[in-house]
Amino acid sequence: MESVATRHIVERWIGRTLRIGVWGSATLMALGLALAWSSPGTLRLPSENPHPADVFHSLLSGSLDPVMVMFAGLLCLMLTPFLRVLTAAAGFAAEKDRTFVIVALVVFAMLLGELVFSLQ
């Protein structure tokens, strides 16, 4: 019964993580579009996609550049599955299922490797 209860809690964590990721990214994308709509003359699309660190630095510095805000929303959306896998790994750890902690961490490592390799 304790294992079933733990599993239900884990599934709620994962569901909550997914909702936060989806709604957070949707909010940023919608905000970016609204900002772009209100100041179309100042819109500047970069020739290359900016590095994620630059995007989040721009946001944290208080800049409301519409393009950067939209990129932030898109990056949040792309990172939500990463969080999904990490939360699942934490859930398997809570259920003391070592095998699937390792499986989930292998998947996370592959995702992280692809991200790092792509951004180099």
Binding site: E11, V22, L33, L45, E48, L74, L77, M78, F100, L111
Partner: protein, 270 residues
């Protein structure tokens, strides 16, 4: 971008998200041709946008399915090992192929999907005979009947091979891959259709994320296209789930299989 184009993009996203949710597909199968044929977007940009749409619909749907305890998390995570490998190679391959070649490969995929939709409708087993002594034992409550369905998974190696192929297609063409994974889980491994669809829906977002940064790094993601499209698909997927309860599935499947067939011809000959 003009106001008209912007609204058309959102409307297109809503339509593709709605149709995808009603047919149990991710948005990519419909969104990519829409972006290419209506907006004349380069194929790589259309694929990158579709990948975002797949992540959006998967995340939204999986949130509900996980909390309803239909998703087989252990099976899904194990299949992800193969799918992610396939998706990474698919994404890398797509960025060395020309848009024309990708367009023709996509046309062939649409043709396969249209036939798969009909075949799945005729041959899928809603609640299959439970596999005994298989792997990844799980159970869920069927909301329609109130019955608790217990099952386990047979022929796991075959499902892993199909996951690898589906992941590769996902990374190459910006689709979720569920159209291949769900029948494989249902008909090869004996997983009840609802659990197979929910588990696949949980997976396709992770699969899409595996190639998303490859397209991002190559500069194929245009935020002015991707943001409204992703928002539209997200809204559409919520609508599709609600509409789906009221419309006969078989009728819809025939119509959209025919639509996909026509789109595949158009994509091949453009």
């Amino acid at each position: 971008m003009s106001a008209g184009s912007f609204l058309l993009l959102i409307a297109g996203g809503v339509a593709t998200g709605t149709i995808g949710a009603m047919l149990g597909l991710g948005g990519g199968v419909f969104l990519t041709p829409f972006l290419v044929l209506v907006f004349n977007l380069p194929m790589h940009q259309a694929i990158a946008t579709s990948i975002l749409a797949v992540i959006a619909t998967s995340s939204a749907g999986a949130a509900m399915n996980v909390e309803r305890q239909i998703v087989n998390l252990r099976l899904g995570m194990t299949m992800e090992v193969a799918t992610v490998i396939g998706a990474i190679f698919g994404g890398l391959t797509a960025n060395v192929l020309s848009g024309d070649i990708l367009s023709k490969i996509f046309a062939v995929l649409l043709l396969s999907v249209s036939f798969m939709m009909i075949w799945r409708m005729r041959h899928s087993r809603g609640i299959s005979t439970p596999v005994e002594a298989g792997a990844f034992p799980a159970s869920f409550t069927d909301e329609a009947s109130g019955e608790v369905i217990s099952y386990s998974v047979a022929r796991v190696p075959w499902v892993m091979v199909i996951s690898l192929i589906a992941g590769n297609i996902s990374g190459l063409l910006g689709v979720g891959g569920g159209i291949f994974k769900v029948p494989a889980m249902n008909m090869i491994s004996g997983i009840p259709l609802k659990a197979a669809a929910a588990t696949s829906n949980f997976m396709i977002g992770v699969t899409a994320a595996a190639s998303a940064f490859i397209y991002f790094a190559h500069g194929h993601l245009n935020p002015l296209i991707a943001s409204p499209a992703a928002l539209g698909v997200l809204l559409g997927s919520f609508l599709g789930v609600r509409i789906n309860r009221r419309i006969k599935g078989a009728y819809l499947t025939w119509i959209f299989a025919a639509v996909l067939f026509l789109i595949s011809v158009k994509m091949f000959w453009r």
